[in-house]
Amino acid sequence: MRSPGCTAGCFPWHGQAASLVARATASRPDRMLDGYKVLDLSGQLGWLAGRMLADLGADVVKVEPPAAELDDADWRALNINKRLLRLDPGSRAGTRVLQRMFTAADILIETARPGDPDTAWLAPERVAAISAELIHVSITPYGHRGPRAGWRGSDLEIMAAGGAMALAGEPDGAPLRISVPQACSWAGVHAAAGALTALAHRTAGGGGQHVDVSAQASVVVALAHAPTFFDLLGEIPSRAGSHITGRTVKGAVYRAFWPCKDGHINFVIYGGPAGRRTNKALVAWIRDKGLPLGPLEDLDWDAFDPKLASQEEVDRIEAPLAEFFRSITKSEFLEGACAREMLGYPVSTVADIATDPQLEARHFWQDLTLHDGGSERHCGSFYVVDGLRPGVRNPAAAANAGSAAILEDYGFSAEEITAFRSHDEEVAA
């Protein structure tokens, strides 16, 4: 712990003094959360939260059972920058070690199902009884309390419960999720913000507390202002497929995706200063290319208000745009729109993102060398501070090599570590 908190006598097992707890091993004063210890026992719902705290400089220990396979792409992407501790939380010995680690940790992240007897030791009151200073973050599909707290949910059910699926898909088709799972990330980003909100309170002199993160409630935030239509007007926004709704008082829909030479472009006729500038620049671009303008020739964009347009007007205006977009590529649009200060973006694939010069210029990607000499490319830290993107440390590929150092940092004696490791080897055998 960096902050005052765990004082002598707070180890209920061995009665050791807190002074045995090592402070941060190396000082990294440029890291915001330097010296804080995060114990990450989470399943996928919590991986991003731990990763974000690690990116912000905390020492995050990711606990995984000895036999767990860690090759999954999501696991690797979201658990770098953490130290790996191979330990079975479900075994009696493992539980005891972790409970003792609670007393030295600042933040605990876990994703146990509320009410599950096998993880009763992670119930908020039991964790608080071990350390009143610990910030205990529980991330669950639907939150820790309420009639459906114990309900099961994977990405699909959470996106459904949070309202996101009802708003994605064709109007006459099935509600859709995003094919790249999102619910865990929504929960994770809320959990990181929640953990640090609780930390702010503790640093200001308060104690630890329980942070209850609901993935479902986290997803509702992703719906932007959709709920206000029902709340103010009794209207229920619905899925619009490849069109955009909710922008006109006459209920007209605008096209959002336009086929181009090598994929799709996302462009919408907007109002406001940026929208007007964009619309004028696009007309100039079409004119430069010598393509027909049709009704755009005489349109006064300063007088055009997208929120008052009828569907007929929208359709008429959009026809010449479709022809223009069919004549260009995604990257031509991206560069051209940028040069003309226009709104609109191509629909990128992961391959487009991987080669985007903007990300390259900002040192977004981090190449990590593995123990076997190979290398992995990962998303770097999510922010830049004072002009620098904090580096990513500790490829999580290390097997059990770091366990002794981790346990030492958490105040375990050399004898205890030896005992732990021999037990661990027995388990592995």
Partner: protein, 406 residues
Amino acid sequence: MTGTTQALGGIKVVELGGYAAGPHAGKVLANFGATVVHVESHKRPDGFRLEYPPFKDNIAGINRGGCFAFFNDSKYGVTLDLKKAEGLELARRLIDWADIVIENMRPGVVTRLGLGYEEMRETNPGLIMLSTCNMGQTGPRAHTPGFGTQLSSLAGFCGAIGDAEGPPMLLYGPYIDFIASLMACAAILAALDRKRHTGKGCWIDLSQYECGVQFMAGAMFGYHRDGTIAGRNANRDRVAAPHNAYQCENDRWLALSCHTDSEFAALTRVLGCPDLADDPRFSGVADRHENLRALDAAIGAKMVSRDAEATAVALQEAGVAAYPVNTVADLFADPQLNARRSWRPREHGEIGEQNYLMPGFDLSSTRGDVTRAAPLLGGDNRIVFEDLLGLDRQELDAYVTQGALH
């Protein structure tokens, strides 16, 4: 608004900018007790006030917009004309008062105004400034303007929705902005903690694009590792089958997934068709993937006459993940969200009662809250400049006469 029982009580935040990403970050901090001042001007009010419906009774008005209000609860609202020397002077005084500035203007705008980080830290050395925009403050496309609705395309989300053979699809609203706003909160709070220990402030540059790509991190890693392109694939899953939404009676839908054979057997029992589990087309997970269309049709045929809520309850009791596909209206009646008090109705001066949304987390001892409805344009000028900043009435009146607060 600075009750001592709130986690962020006493933390002072100034917001320059508008729309979603900046203001939503401030709102979350305000929900946990920070004193947040949203700065606009009469000439350039927050774009969400007038450009986006819904409006109270469908009549547009500067203080009638539900969209603006939704992202600005629990804050104070002031107006400052930053084109006027006196307005700028007052803005500087406000920033000197603050611990944190959140700005989401285009890169370079705050610096040109004389309110940039380097300039402001001379008089407020511990200042934390968070700048967030589409692309980040640097790079070849730093100055590209953009809206989150479309940025969600560049970050790969829209291309990952829909049928593999069909067009990409939109997410509702500026999806990516809220990824950035929550990441902004985390970065700000980490910076605040360091400031409390060391006195050191900092300038955080948060690219909304990069934040979005973090939500694609596994897919990006897969591409970098072996060239896998994560495309759109409707509701299909790598592992689970079935894994889809099915239409139930009364035009409701139910999402469910079976990750194991025993879950699938439980599903067939609840639906009253246990023979499906013995059908060779569906007996193992590989078989179910291979015959997914037939599987979806068989389940769909059972679902159309069933009640989505009751079926979800029955499936959960049988150990199968299932939840009704909540529409926006359903969200207000959802028993779980209501148990959390996710919606907090508050009375707004012109809109009347509006439900504000709490973040997806809450704390056990310093609970969050919606402390007040969103501010009217410039509605808190006196409270902020007199009570919080400590100007006396004559001083503030002089600023008003000079047009600084327009």
